[in-house]
């Protein structure tokens, strides 16, 4: 679809949205607090979207931010304005940023929620005011009960784990060693369980290394020992490139290796030291909520039907590594 065409269609959507708004008001269907009421009360020309995440300015979130930036640019002509806040893993700061967004008259709030309970009050309050809530990246399922909850945009750990499992299956791996690099991180365990669902419990061995990232030499020694202790192992999956890449030095030759998240792994994939990386495509997590917000506010379109919109797992392997590397250089992958 050409940009022009897209723009045309979006303009139409706007018109249709305005029509619905008028129709709903005329039919006297407005109920205070309902999305329709918020819709009718909102100004016809601007849709204010507030993106409030727990992210930092690191590699991962800078790609996310590029997605938001691009969406803000693309949607500007449709009267969408976007604000962004990155609260650096500080739940209290994130909650107050959400409150501030409510105060500033946001129509839609897109928030990540690694710690849902910390944001519960702020998001409930926002929802009561008729502000639509979209969760991004993390927080799946935590706010389903809010009256204005729209959708989750992210990658579920289980599905992503299954994606990794399928890659190993295609490569005819028999038994994969998965390093869980933080003890009692439920997300990491879910990833491992996703792999198990594809390869079966006997095709997976989980090695938990508490605080692996703080003692990388020790982590390498343990991975080496694990391969030595179980000769059936012929594949390796790290759940963080900072763990996976150093361990490539110590896994036996010919081991099929993969990782979660991209980091520096594209280079290793091109060198043939790694088969694949699971990419959760956080650019989409930044881009899509702004578009979804616009489509809902202008056209009452909903997506996902109560299920999350999955942005991953995107697979990076030798076939697309060079292209992705070029995109990564532009900061969008």
């Amino acid at each position: 679809m050409s940009d022009e065409l897209l723009e045309d269609e979006l303009t139409q959507l706007t018109r249709r949205g305005l029509f619905i708004k008028g129709g709903a008001a005329a039919a006297g269907l407005t109920v205070l607090g309902s999305p329709a009421a918020a819709l009718a009360a909102g100004t016809a020309t601007t849709i204010k979207v507030a993106v409030v995440t727990h992210g930092d300015t690191g590699a991962f979130w800078s790609v996310f931010k590029k997605g938001v930036d691009q969406a803000a640019k693309d949607m500007k002509s449709h009267g969408v304005t976007v604000t962004q806040q990155y609260t650096n893993n500080d739940p209290a700061k994130q909650a107050s940023a959400i409150n501030a967004a409510v105060g500033a008259g946001a129509n839609v709030i897109a928030a990540s929620a690694p710690d849902p309970s910390a944001l519960k009050d702020a998001l409930t309050k926002a929802s009561k005011k008729g502000i639509e809530i979209i969760t991004v990246n993390s927080g799946l399922g935590a706010f389903d009960s809010l009256p204005t909850y729209e959708v989750h945009v992210g990658q579920t750990e289980d599905v992503a784990g299954q994606g990794a499992g399928k890659q190993f299956k295609a490569a005819k791996a028999k038994k994969v060693l998965i390093v869980v690099h933080e003890a009692s991180n439920s997300g990491l365990v879910q990833r491992a369980n996703g792999v198990k669902r594809v390869l079966g419990a006997s095709g997976v061995k989980v090695l938990t290394i508490p605080d692996a990232k703080k003692d990388i030499p020790g982590t390498k020694a343990k991975v080496k020992a694990a391969f030595n202790a179980d000769k059936q192992l012929d594949a390796f999956l790290g759940l963080d490139p900072d763990v996976t890449i150093p361990c490539l030095d110590v896994i036996p030759k010919g081991t099929k290796a993969g990782t979660f998240d991209v980091g520096g792994s594209i280079k290793e994939i091109q060198k043939g030291r790694m088969l694949f990386a699971i990419d959760q495509q956080q650019y989409l997590q930044g881009y899509l909520p702004v578009v979804f917000a616009y489509l809902y506010r202008s056209n009452l379109n909903t997506v996902g039907n109560g299920k999350p919109v999955l942005t991953g797992p995107g697979i990076i392997n030798k076939a697309n590594a060079a292209k992705v590397a070029a995109l990564a250089a532009k900061g969008t992958r």
């Binding site: 690191g58 605080d211 030499p217």
Partner: protein, 363 residues
């Protein structure tokens, strides 16, 4: 602190002295019976523990030939050296009556600094290492000076250093690289030639050069403690600093020197890791400070100072290395690692308490 013995006497010697007949001349040269001397040594608990753990995994991990395969030993010695190198000055510092909670994070700080100097300032690896050591000595000096001048507990002072360094590591690395690690340090000039001194493989079983550093530093620390005047000062500064000062021991200088030793050996560890990994991550080393302290405590060092052993600390590190790798080799669920570490710490402290009270009784 103190009270166990007169301040300038060295505990091992004083115990030994009572086990044998007191004699004229230098007390350090007294020859005493083997068994009584052995049973009152602060490091006996760690030694016996290490032997027990070694043979326990010899049984539980017999499937991989734990006792006989040198490749297995290269694995756990690698891990043990990871703790044992910095544990040497940490033990000396504890005997001197102080803690350094910044010893772990210093590994990351110095590795990141080395990476910065070589990849961003294009410095040759050798002068860069020199600058890293100077930086570490400065941090140790500040730690030591703050502790002795303010008389605040070193626990608090170095906790502050710990947080400051951790923040600088995280924020600085992110600002510099946009990610959480400095990569491609091996592009530095002189990297490969210097690497074999710090992180080569010694044999076809992959024993690491790091293990030699561990053994070498342990011998140096043990000799320093046992045979030098500075060793005497360490014991007395930790045992009873007031009494020590009264008999002319330069307590302030001794403590500052110990802090500087600790931070510079931590920096050495950071250098070794940078050579090994060819990169350095912002989180590296955080949390290891407690493992160093565990090595020292298992090795017989008292939290109150004035008592302990570098040799014992060596066996403490060996034990932790064996447990961490042994759990993997025996194919147990590695989630248990922390529980095992706690169990060892508990058992060692109990045993050490028995040994010490026995030593006092003999006295």
């Amino acid at each position: 602190m103190g009270g166990l013995r007169s301040s300038t006497q060295r505990p091992e010697a004083s115990m030994a002295e009572t086990a044998a007949q007191p004699q004229r001349g230098d007390e350090r040269l007294i020859r005493v019976g083997f068994l009584p001397r052995l049973l009152t040594r602060p490091d006996i608990g760690a030694f016996l523990g290490a032997v027990a753990v070694f043979f326990a995994f010899g049984y539980f991990a017999r499937a991989v030939n734990w006792l006989g395969d040198p490749a297995i030993a290269s694995g756990w010695t690698d891990q043990a050296a990871q703790y044992g190198i910095v544990a040497v000055p940490v033990a000396l510092l504890m005997i001197g009556g102080e803690f350094d909670l910044s010893a772990g994070v210093m590994i990351g700080s110095s590795g990141l600094l080395l990476g910065y100097l070589t990849t961003y300032q294009d410095l040759n690896i050798w002068p860069a290492m020199g600058l890293v050591l100077l930086f570490a000595l400065a941090i140790g000096f500040v730690n030591g000076l703050t502790v002795v001048k303010t008389k605040l507990p070193s626990f608090i002072v170095t906790l502050a250093t710990f947080f400051i360094l951790q923040g600088v590591n995280a924020a600085g690395t992110l600002k510099l690289t946009g990610t959480t690690a400095i990569q491609n340090v091996d592009s530095a000039s002189g990297f490969e030639s210097a690497r074999r001194f710090f992180s080569g493989d010694l044999t076809r079983w992959d024993f690491k050069v790091k293990v030699l550093w561990w053994i070498g530093l342990t011998l140096f620390g043990a000799l320093l403690l046992a045979k030098s005047r500075f060793g005497n000062w360490i014991y007395s500064a930790g045992g009873d600093p007031v009494a020590a000062r009264n008999v002319g021991v330069p307590v302030v200088r001794t403590k500052i020197a110990l802090f500087m030793m600790t931070s510079s050996v931590a920096a050495l560890m950071g250098i070794i890791e940078t050579f090994e990994l060819r990169s350095m991550q912002a989180k590296e080393g955080v949390g290891l400070e407690f493992l160093f302290i565990i090595c020292a405590v298992v090795g017989g060092c008292l939290l109150t100072g004035g008592y302990g052993s570098v040799i014992g600390t060596f066996f403490g590190a060996a034990m932790l290395g064996m447990v961490q790798l042994g759990i993997v080799d025996a194919q147990w669920d590695s989630n248990w690692t922390y529980a095992f570490q706690g169990g060892i710490l508990f058992a060692a402290v109990m045993l050490n308490t028995v040994v010490r009270s026995r030593a006092q009784r003999v006295r």
